[in-house]
Symmetry: none
Subunit: 607 residues, 2 copies
């Protein structure tokens, strides 16, 4: 195989590991910058790996020099060096200065690293976010905190602008008594204050973003909306679909998330975390420009395009324009496995995934190859079911209880409502399919239609997706050219054209496309059809037309079916059956003729 | 987490690699005995790996000493040393002699290594197998071959008892004339003869077998029955469910497979390959006591329990008693990716898996990290759909066509290599390929050849694999029928037939095959070719012939290329280029005419 592009990955934790799990079978070459023995390097042998920290500028350049494109598993990376690599370039082994694209863009990484700036950016895009204000540092902090509660009122959040994740660097100020502790806890960091938002649920949507080389967004592909449940400021569980939330809200969440990601820069997957408020409105919390915990369950729920495969395909810019991220499971739940009090606290949960068989519900274990520490994300379990009716949350109660045990907590599982089942599509009766026909039938004039009817009946009989129209070589030459030129891109495999007299349509179509053209000579008013036949069949060398007998559209259609049959076994089988039926019919007539004699037979036919 | 048991794996090819892909997220510790850089070791860093051959007794013991259980990805291993390890034990680093369980059992491995003994064993269990008899070696061979055809009658198979796979070591004896070649081909190996079984389809069932520590079978879990399609003696495709086979037959196949595996020894997955005969009965071909090509599609079709996860859970004896292997997809098709003529022949197919989006149909690519060699298994693609109504085979036609093209090129280039090397300057240029032509050109008489030459030149120009012969409708009707009937099974996509006078050949061919037939009217001695034209084009309704102009074999060939082009992008591209070149040529002449004027132009042409 020709050499695959080398993808440089900053960070080799569980997200990087799952990226490698996805990339291995796809043949991608992923080089990782992280410490040796990190989760990703355990399952990816590559002599282009770099040992060190993804915050170390020199190491990042060392990796970049070996790669065709760079991406990240975490946003807390050195955005300055990534900007330099993408805009000025990096010295390669051969000494040349080479620019290496970075996806998502360093612009996006720099923006989201400052949560205050991130939300200011969204506000400027008319994307709903919670009211916030910057807080002064040092001496100024106390004063600006006062302004904050005058402006935002209690309770409000004090948050570190940078470097915080999984709830670290957040402090909820319920009242005046919390101001002192807040300063103590976070006083040394650059801070901002955010109005406390009383949300009813947290939603998240993963978005695949594609972009051309000029940096214009070329596509926004949302995954199904999920509900995220946090506990101790860490993601505990994810539900697809969200519990007790109607489809309209999920659609709105996808729309807002798309708006958010469209306003950013670079290719890849982006996680948009949102609050669902009492009134059904949605407020954006924050964005992670990378694979995300809220997207783990898509590995099984959208098995043809996990967020990891999507990340790889997006940064390589090979995402099909028409891609839709429709789940193959009706429901999915993800539970994080967090390290417990002891190194083996989660053994029982893991054992359950091996031994607890639940018919109709699938269990998928993902361990990250990390040593267990209290509260550390060391794995996750995803549960899926094809049934929209199963109470999945109830079904997996033994696992939830085990998670609760590990956390020394209890959770009462709430019953889940049945979702309406999609109504089955109405079965169509005609095989006419103008959207994606295999065969296009056209004629010089509607007067030819009566001749073509028999052929169209054949296409219907063989269930061939076809389209039928009128294009005159002489009256609508442009329209004819258009039809011919579009044939290949429409996926048309055969053209059938009927014409009479100076019958130019089949030959002219053949001159404008590479698709085989079948010509049906239509007997016109004079010359008994000889004019039509000869003007279709006697084409010059170079431009063939498959000509059938005069007025014999039946054979034109059967010929088209045979052409398809050479490549689609279905049509070959149908043709074989059709030919057998003709044989049987003739044998029947022969038997009758032999039985009754020719006079009676003729007499009989006269009836 | 408490230390996971160490699983020792003999062989690190694609099966071992996929075992590691399954085992990684499950936290299993897999140590591999194979050369460094083998597919499995590329994605599994483990300090317990052993470098060397799985046929090397010392290496096998070295691996066993580090493991809690041993398993295999291939049955052609050293069964003696495995017996010793399982029954007597192996010296560990600490010097103690420790027994290490081997699954599947060394008993099973030893049995299946001798295909003759394997079938004798099944016969003794009243499991249906083809009649067979052992053949003597050396002097005795000729004699026992005579007995063989007296007993089994022609045709029968001569097979090597050991070491054969993917059709290697098999020889079909059609008649007395094949006896000599059979002896030449396989004479040095221990052989047996097997009655030729005229099967209608090959079926396979993967079975999970569990066993207690006393060696009693405790469970038999069948995967869904699949249809396997072989080409060039190698698995080409697998269909779930089998095409046009009713559920009762599938259930019977699962039952027979269960019977087979119950009669063997050890834990793990077993592939049972079977023949489906005309009368609906089933005959066992052979067993592979390991993950198998016919089970690849279960990775996606039975996503909660791939054959690899099943292998791991079975040998660790943690399979839930109530486990059912019910597919989550309604249909699945697997296509093997075999190395083509060039190292990058499969690039286009891989690209298709990235860019061809088919809504409702999922594409799953699996590359094995192996360098490409002609015919080598380097990957596979699995297609799944949740819909029972989608015509999956039709949907994936572009992929099937690409696989065909890779094969066509591989076969042609192999044929080329086999041809005796002529003078260096006379390098082979013909695309004629009688073994697997896409187009077959035939004529009523060699006098038509001069007319067909232009068309044959076109086929050469477009590098279309073709065959060319003579079959007269009137002088060799049987031969003509044979050619027509064999067309589909030969993979022929288009027939071109030339004839003159009462030109019956094209129409008669069309009457005997479903393959599209292109007719070339050859101008005979009288009537200026009208006789030929009308007797080809004016076919009765029901049997079409694609007729081109009189003597215009050029257009016949170009039409054939267009028919191929609708399904093979390569030919569509070439046709587009060809049409462009015609345009350029005419524009050139136009320019000249405009420049020099018509008199000079005509004068110039006169020169």
């Amino acid at each position: 195989m020709t050499k695959a592009p080398v993808i440089g990955l900053l960070g080799g934790g569980q997200l990087g590991r799952m990226l490698c799990e996805a990339g291995g079978p796809l043949g991608y070459d992923i080089a990782i910058l992280d410490e040796d023995g990190c989760p990703a390097k355990q399952i990816n042998v590559n002599d282009k790996h770099v040992t060190g920290s993804f915050k170390d500028a020199a190491k990042v350049k060392e990796l970049a020099a070996r790669c065709d494109v760079l991406t990240v598993e975490i946003e807390h990376v050195n955005a300055e060096v990534l900007e330099e690599i993408a805009t000025k370039g990096v010295r390669t082994a051969s000494g040349e200065l080479r620019k290496v694209p970075v996806h998502p863009s360093w612009r996006t990484l720099r923006l989201v690293q400052d949560k205050f700036e991130q939300k200011e950016h969204f506000k400027a895009q008319d994307i709903p976010v919670a009211p916030q204000m910057a807080l002064g540092g040092g001496e100024a902090l106390a004063g600006s905190l006062r302004e904050a509660y005058e402006e935002l009122a209690f309770p409000f959040m004090v948050k570190a602008r940078k470097g915080s994740y999984d709830g670290r660097g957040n402090f909820k100020v319920r009242g005046p008594e919390d101001l002192e502790p807040a300063v103590e806890a976070l006083g040394k960091l650059p801070l901002y204050a955010e109005k406390w938002v009383p949300f009813v649920m947290e939603l998240a949507v993963m978005i695949v973003r594609t972009e051309d080389d000029e940096g214009n967004c070329t596509g926004i592909y949302p995954y199904p909306t999920v509900e995220t449940v946090h506990e101790d400021d860490v993601c505990r569980a994810v539900f697809m679909p969200p519990r007790k939330v109607d489809a309209a809200v999920c659609a709105k969440a996808q729309k807002v998330a798309g708006q958010v990601v469209r306003s950013l820069w670079g290719r890849g997957v982006f996680a948009v975390e949102m609050f669902l408020l009492q009134d059904g409105s949605i407020m954006v919390n924050e964005v992670a420009p990378r694979p995300h915990n809220s997207g783990h369950l898509h590995i099984e729920a959208v098995p043809y395009m996990s967020q990891y495969k999507a990340q790889l395909h997006a940064i390589l810019d090979i995402v099909p324009k028409s891609m839709k991220l429709i789940p193959r499971a009706s429901q999915a739940i993800m539970l994080n496995i967090l390290g417990g009090a002891a190194a083996d606290s989660h053994d029982k949960l893991v054992k359950l995934t091996e031994t607890e068989y639940m018919e109709g519900t699938d269990v998928h274990l993902h361990l990250y190859g990390k040593a267990s520490k209290p509260g550390r994300k060391i794995g996750h379990v995803t549960f899926t079911t094809p049934s929209p009716d199963v109470d999945l949350e109830k079904t997996i109660a033994p696992f939830v209880n085990e998670v609760d045990l590990i956390r020394q907590q209890r959770v009462s599982s709430c019953a889940e409502q049945l979702r309406p089942v999609a109504a089955p599509e109405a079965k169509k009766t005609s095989s006419r399919n103008p959207k994606s026909p295999l065969v296009v039938v056209t004629m010089g004039s509607d007067s030819d239609l009566s001749v073509l009817a028999a052929g169209l009946d054949i296409l219907e009989k063989f269930e061939v997706p076809y389209d039928c129209t009128i294009t005159s070589a002489h009256r609508t030459p442009a329209r004819m050219t258009e039809l011919a030129n579009a044939a290949v891109s429409r996926g048309v495999k055969v053209l059938i054209a009927a014409a009479g007299g100076a019958a130019h349509l089949p030959g002219m179509l053949a001159s404008e496309t590479t698709v085989p053209v079948i010509g049906v000579p239509v007997k016109a008013t004079h010359l008994d059809g000889n004019d039509s036949l000869l003007s279709i069949v006697q084409m010059p060398r170079g431009i063939p037309v498959a000509t059938v007998g005069i007025n014999n559209s039946t054979n034109a259609a059967l010929l088209a079916v045979r052409m398809l049959g050479s490549h689609y076994p279905e049509y070959q089988d149908k043709m074989a059956r059709y030919m057998k039926s003709m044989k049987v019919e003739v044998e029947g007539k022969a038997a009758k003729l032999e039985e009754v004699g020719y006079q009676a037979y003729l007499a009989g036919r006269g009836q």
